[in-house]
């Protein structure tokens, strides 16, 4: 039983890392109805910028601030050069644009900072804690704490502030949002900048875990099942979806894996996501289309 709980909680904590990435997608999806394929590249860009600054002797918070500003500038460039040109186009056009964007951002990051792997040490040692007889990774607990704080912050931003209400209005009905005087372009800029901030946090935590390298941008693929399970439009959904993916893939690997030769972890989330698509296509927390009959 103890072993089961250990695997389970370990999976939940690892799932938090998926959630962090998925939140970035949710933000942009809510504001513009677009699955932003470039989110993974933004995570890489942020992590690479941050780690390179730290390696050049800039202290943690200084590097954090500079990277944050860089991400805001990146968001502004994307808004002016890409989104503004494609306004009113179909979602698939915008999706293709973000696909292209992901290669540009990725290439830009590596052109500026090089392609080698960087180690990132943020001063959390990874000795396990023992809680009620269960061993827990200290780093995972730290990551979970950060993610929790981030969710609380974003929850406040979206539910209580005028920007948040405007954002949800745009998600519901773009034309009506325009008609009441909401400035779409300003809102997009804010959302992409916030997604850049979330990407930075995710990039630092993932970078500290697996090293800052090109493959960071591939976590976009891990976020997909998280989003399908949790729902594309919900930050809570991204959290719960991440937890489900994290816990279930670890449990599947440990308990089902040996029966069929292992290696389940990598594809199990997709099977789960597919089941969700059949039963609950808008995910656990996604917005159901409200329709009166």
């Amino acid at each position: 039983m103890n072993f089961f709980l250990e695997v389970f909680t370990g999976g939940l904590l690892a799932g938090v890392m998926y959630s962090l990435v998925a939140i970035g997608f949710v933000l942009i999806y809510k504001a513009s109805g677009v699955f932003n394929f470039a989110q993974g590249s933004m995570v890489l860009f942020a992590a690479l910028t941050f780690v390179s600054l730290v390696e050049r002797g800039i202290p943690f918070w200084g590097a954090f601030a500079i990277t944050l500003i860089t991400m805001a500038v990146l968001a502004w460039l994307i808004e002016v050069l890409v989104l503004r040109q494609l306004v009113n186009r179909s979602p698939i056009t915008l999706f293709m644009a973000t696909l292209g964007l992901s290669y540009i951002v990725e290439g830009l990051a590596q052109a500026v900072w090089g392609a080698q792997v960087h180690a990132l040490d943020i001063g959390i040692n990874d000795e396990p804690y023992e809680v009620f007889g269960i061993l827990l990774s200290q780093f995972d607990l730290f990551a979970a704490g950060i993610a929790g704080g981030l969710v609380a912050l974003l929850g406040f931003l979206f539910n209580k502030t005028r920007i948040g209400i405007s954002l949800r209005a745009v998600a519901d009905d773009q034309l009506a949002a325009l008609a009441v005087g909401i400035k779409l372009q300003r809102l997009w800029l804010i959302v992409w900048a916030v997604a850049g901030f979330v990407g930075l946090v995710a990039g630092i935590l993932w970078g500290a875990r697996v090293g800052v390298q090109f493959s960071l941008s591939l976590i976009v693929l891990k976020a997909l099942p998280v989003l399908i399970i949790g729902g594309f439009t919900s930050i809570e959904g991204a959290i719960v979806g991440g937890l489900i993916v994290g816990a279930s893939e670890k449990l599947a690997e440990v308990f089902i894996g040996p029966l069929i030769g292992g290696g389940i972890e990598n594809w199990f989330p997709y099977v789960l996501a597919m089941l969700f698509l059949l039963v609950r296509p808008y995910g656990l927390f996604g917005d159901k289309a409200i329709e009166r009959v």
Binding site: D173, A177, G181
Partner: protein
């Protein structure tokens, strides 16, 4: 009643004036042509015509929403309170008190009724205190909305959604409201109720309305002046009573006998 071939004289006191407006969608699709009209202060002006006559296009041309629908104003000028606003953005117009209520209500379904109303005021960046005062004002006009304020707008009835849409426009503290098909899909009794509120807003708040309606009978009872549209052109205009008693409407809906 007069024919539109004559040029309208720029009236100094008109709150809104359209001068020979032409709109084309997607660079090729012709929508409206030679549209000249005006709305006086504290007036209700009706735009009448069958489906596809161009009523909505005229309203969107005024409110700056045409570019969002891949259209453009290729000719003519629009004046609001004496200023040329032909190329103004919706946000600029709303903050100056010109708001459109879209056809089919377009409430934000996943937002509560109260959040819907709040969005209407954001463009003016009011303080929290002013915001809650405005909210109370709207609730005075629509007491039913106050009872529903925590409900998702998407789950309210059609009439209630129309109230939300008008209330949301009122939150911008407007001088002129462009109202597109307020009667669409509503029971006659509710339509009456909505028009009564429009009338009341005109009388007590001094608001002007430019009203696009297919339901000409109701619209003409409340309007001061009316324009009749047919495939993108104005064919007749005149006092509401004159239009109501003339042959113009049945001609435009049913074709000339």
């Amino acid at each position: 009643m007069s024919q539109t071939s004559e040029k309208l004289n720029p009236a100094a006191d008109a709150i809104l004036q359209l001068d020979n407006i032409e709109v084309i969608y997607e660079k090729v699709i012709f929508a409206i042509k030679h549209i000249s009209l005006q709305v006086g202060p504290q007036a209700i002006v009706a735009l009448l015509g069958a489906n596809g006559a161009g009523k909505s296009t005229i309203l969107k041309a005024i409110s700056g929403l045409i570019p969002a629908q891949r259209g453009e104003i290729v000719q003519g000028r629009i004046f609001y309170q004496g200023l040329d606003v032909t190329q103004a953005t919706p946000a600029q117009l709303v903050s100056q008190g010109l708001v459109q209520v879209l056809e089919g209500r377009h409430c934000f379904g996943h937002l509560t009724v109260e959040e819907n109303l709040l969005t209407g005021a954001f463009v003016r960046r009011p303080s929290a205190k002013v915001l809650s005062q405005e909210l109370e004002k709207v609730y005075n006009f629509f007491p039913r909305l106050k009872l529903l304020r925590k409900n998702h707008a998407g789950y309210t009835s059609g009439g209630e959604q129309q109230m939300v849409a008008i209330g949301r426009a009122l939150m911008a503290n407007p001088k002129l409201i462009l109202l597109d098909e307020p009667s669409m899909g509503l029971a006659p009794q509710i339509v009456e109720e909505i028009f009564e509120i429009v009338h009341q807003l005109q009388q007590t708040q001094g608001l002007s309305f430019l009203l696009a309606e297919q339901n000409a009978t109701v619209a003409l009872r409340y309007a001061d002046y009316a324009y009749v549209l047919e495939s993108g052109h104005i064919t007749h205009h005149g006092d509401a009573q004159t239009i109501a008693s003339s042959q113009a409407l049945s001609d435009s809906y049913l074709g000339k006998q």
